[in-house]
């Protein structure tokens, strides 16, 4: 499975390029409209082409990500996929309660994290040691909160709540509790 860091790098490049281009376009436009000269009539076909382009862009983004980001389709179809490991986790009083001190997973295994909140809305995020995020989900009380994930790299990972649950929840961190082993 593609690492989430690769997806984030791709997004950084794509959005940065777009941001530079649109800043330059507006800058150019600002300069150009103050220069002497008459504007020719703006064609309606250009306008409709622009609208069509936006439609294609808006829809194709989701089609592309669905087909290139592997966890997107896995997430939608997770009820039909048999996990290699299941971890039932509860959260109560701003504390994660894990089934064991360490959650051990092998590289390539599909692990299901099934997290239940007994009181508030929390978040469940898994982070690398450099604090970058691998994935997260919301943990809503009274509902099933499960996520299926396939780890590609060996290492130790940290669980952290990614949702605000009051001042007491700001440091809901379990350092290095997930261990992913190479086969």
């Amino acid at each position: 499975m593609i690492d989430s860091q690769i997806v984030l790098n791709g997004q950084t490049i794509a959005y940065s390029c777009y941001a530079v281009v649109i800043i330059l376009v507006i800058g150019w436009f600002g300069l150009r409209i103050t220069k002497p000269g008459k504007s020719s009539k703006i064609s309606h076909s250009l306008f409709y082409t622009f609208v069509g382009f936006l439609m294609v862009l808006g829809v194709s983004l989701h089609i592309i990500t669905y087909n290139t980001i592997p966890w997107a389709s896995m997430d939608i179809n997770r009820a039909n996929i048999k996990p290699d490991k299941v971890f039932n986790i509860t959260v109560e009083n701003h504390q994660f309660n894990l089934p064991s001190d360490k959650l051990v997973i092998n590289v390539g295994e599909k692990a299901l994290f099934d997290v239940t909140s007994k009181d508030l809305t929390y978040g469940f995020g898994v982070f690398r040691s450099d604090n970058s995020m691998i994935f997260q989900m919301q943990v809503v009380p009274g509902h099933r909160n499960d996520i299926l994930w396939q780890f590609n790299h060996p290492g130790v990972y940290t669980i952290r709540s990614t949702e605000y649950s009051g001042p007491k929840g700001a440091q809901m961190i379990l350092q290095d509790v997930i261990e992913v082993k190479s086969l």
Binding site: S4, V7, L8, T12, Y15, Y18, A19, I22, I23, F29, G30, R32, I33, T34, P36, G37, K41, I42, H44, F47, F50, V51, L57, G58, V59, L61, H62, T65, Y66, W71, A72, I76, D119, L120, T121, G123, G125, F127, R128, D130, N131, S132, M133, I134, Q136, M137, Q138, V140, P141, G142, H143, N145, T162, E163, Y164, S165, G166, P167, A170, Q171
Partner: protein
């Protein structure tokens, strides 16, 4: 004039508060209060920027989260609502060439928003009530963390703002549709239908010679459609406030109601549906309408593709009612159908509706070239750029795959939320302030163009820069709504803090420029009663 004279009487002594009509005074009161609350929000923002670099010992974490709760509410309700409602209560009668339906109700809107914001801010400051604006159930009624008395006052303040909002809604629709005394009878139903957008939609399917002429101008139509969302939103927030208040009063009276009586996910859907009527509804619709008005005022020309613009506003209204699920893409129990249809596809429509408004505004400006680079024009371009940056950032996070690694990170609140609000929305509002300034002050002169230029560049660079560095931190895993104790993201946070400082300097320059333009006496005079007729918008009207 000496500095002291200018400070007391304004630039060249041109501003005379005694010559203002009640309506001019009302809009200026909204502007003054809106700017003061904006200043509050900027200072709170700077405290939090510093806190993200290094937690401040004098501010405990529960106080920090109280600031985090108050900050967006003061910014949106105290500042933006004041500026927008003040401007629209003046512009609707101005554009429709008839008096405001009820000046008294307008005044009540002003008083309720001003006082309501002060009350919820103080309640948060003193009692540290901090469930954030999201109010995820059952956090607002978690009395192990929050004081129910403080919470009750907090909710009371919000309810007052919402009541003021309801008064604004009534005033806008009545002003659009009523026939003033001495006027020829106006077709209320037809005017309202046109304002909401039905005639624009119908015209799209009719031949040119059969198309009906519009009864309201496009900016009024945009205001009317944004006001529909404003009404629905205030209903949702008022209902939620009452629900929370019931639990608080119950607790204070000694019996605790069962929190599980409310389904947390259903509540989240309900509340985000309402909140998105602000974020994706009225903000985008009001902003599009304001762009159109500004483009027409700046160029003196008709809007490019008017009928399409009107239809797009109606589409945006429907989009805003069906778009909320992009906030729940990380909620695993949220039905997949809602995630894909509402969260992804309807949200992608915002790229189209906002893109249309962007294109139409630029095309209108282009058609009138050459234009002078006035303050209103440069701030309008800044506003357009802000949304051109923020909307695609939002579309990216409203994707099932990308949301998994972006939700609740600084990416959401940086390149999307803050760039949309600070650069897109606020610069659009500044453009409106600069263009309306001579109209509502009867020709007062701006104190310093150099300060206005500094305001523009510092705000633009500060806003985009802050959003960019927050976004970079977010892409590296930094969460929002939490505290980092060990300087994990210090490089990005220091750079974002410097850009935040630029925003603060920009605001101070603008505020100083406005005070020096109208003088301290003028500022005080705005808050004294006017002796002129409430029915007149401008003093020379009869």
């Amino acid at each position: 004039m000496s500095f002291k004279d200018t400070f007391m009487n304004g630039e060249q002594g041109l501003f005379k508060a005694s010559g203002l009509t009640p309506m001019q005074k009302l809009v200026l009161r909204f502007v003054v209060v809106g700017l003061l609350y904006y200043g509050f929000a900027v200072i709170e923002g700077m405290i939090m920027r510093i806190y993200q670099i290094e937690p401040i010992n004098a501010i405990p974490d529960f106080q920090y989260f109280a600031i985090l709760t108050a900050h967006p509410l003061v910014g949106i309700f105290g500042s933006t609502y004041s500026l927008v409602f003040g401007a629209f209560l003046f512009l609707v009668p101005f554009l429709m060439k008839k008096p405001l339906w009820s000046y008294k109700l307008g005044n009540w809107t002003f008083l309720l928003i001003t006082a309501g914001t002060a009350i919820f801010w103080f309640a948060g400051f003193i009692t540290h009530y901090a469930p954030l604006y999201t109010l995820y159930w059952p956090l607002p009624v978690d009395f192990t963390q929050f004081n129910p008395i403080g919470g009750s006052f907090f909710i009371l303040g919000i309810a007052m703002v919402m009541l003021g909002t309801v008064f604004f809604v009534i005033n806008i629709f009545k002003t659009i549709s009523y026939t003033p005394e001495g006027f020829e009878k106006q077709p209320s139903a037809a005017i309202l239908a046109d304002a909401i957008g039905f005639s624009g939609l119908r015209n799209l399917f009719l031949k040119k010679n059969k198309q009906k002429e519009h009864l309201v101008s496009l900016p009024v139509a945009a205001i009317a459609r944004g006001t529909v969302d404003t009404a629905l939103n205030s209903g949702v927030i008022l209902f939620t406030g009452v629900l929370i208040l019931v639990y608080m009063v119950g607790h204070l009276m000694g019996f605790d109601l069962k929190e599980t009586a409310i389904d947390a996910l259903l509540y989240k859907n309900w509340f985000w549906w309402g909140l998105d009527l602000i974020a994706d509804g009225l903000v985008l619709i009001f902003v599009a309408g304001t762009w159109y008005l500004l483009a027409m005022l700046i160029t003196g020309k008709k809007l490019f593709m008017q009928n399409i613009a009107r239809a797009a506003l109606l589409v945006e209204l429907i989009v805003s009612w069906t778009v909320w699920s992009h906030h729940l893409l990380s909620d695993q129990s949220q039905p997949s159908f809602l995630k894909i249809a509402s969260g992804e596809l309807v949200t992608a429509f915002e790229l189209i509706t906002q893109g249309l408004a962007f294109y139409i505004t630029l095309a209108t400006l282009w058609s009138a070239r050459p234009l002078k680079m006035t303050n209103e024009l440069k701030f309008l371009l800044g506003g357009l750029l802000g949304f051109a940056l923020a909307v695609p950032a939002g579309i990216m996070q409203a994707d099932i795959g990308l949301n998994r690694i972006l939700h609740n990170t600084q990416w959401i609140v940086g390149p999307h939320v803050h760039v949309a609000i600070l650069v897109g929305l606020t610069m659009t509002l500044y453009s409106a302030v600069y263009i309306l300034f001579p109209i509502v002050t009867n020709g007062a002169k701006l104190y310093s163009q150099k300060l206005a230029n500094f305001h523009f560049w510092a705000h633009l660079i500060g806003g985009i820069g802050m959003g960019a560095f927050m976004g970079m931190a977010g892409l590296n895993g930094m969460l929002r709504r939490t505290i980092y104790l060990n300087g994990e993201f210090n490089l990005y946070m220091i750079l974002a803090g410097i850009c935040g400082g630029l925003l603060l300097l920009a605001f101070l320059a603008f505020f100083y420029n406005i005070v020096m333009s109208i003088g301290l006496k003028g500022v005080i005079g705005i808050f004294t009663p006017s002796k002129l007729d409430v029915k007149n918008l401008l003093p020379n009207e009869e």
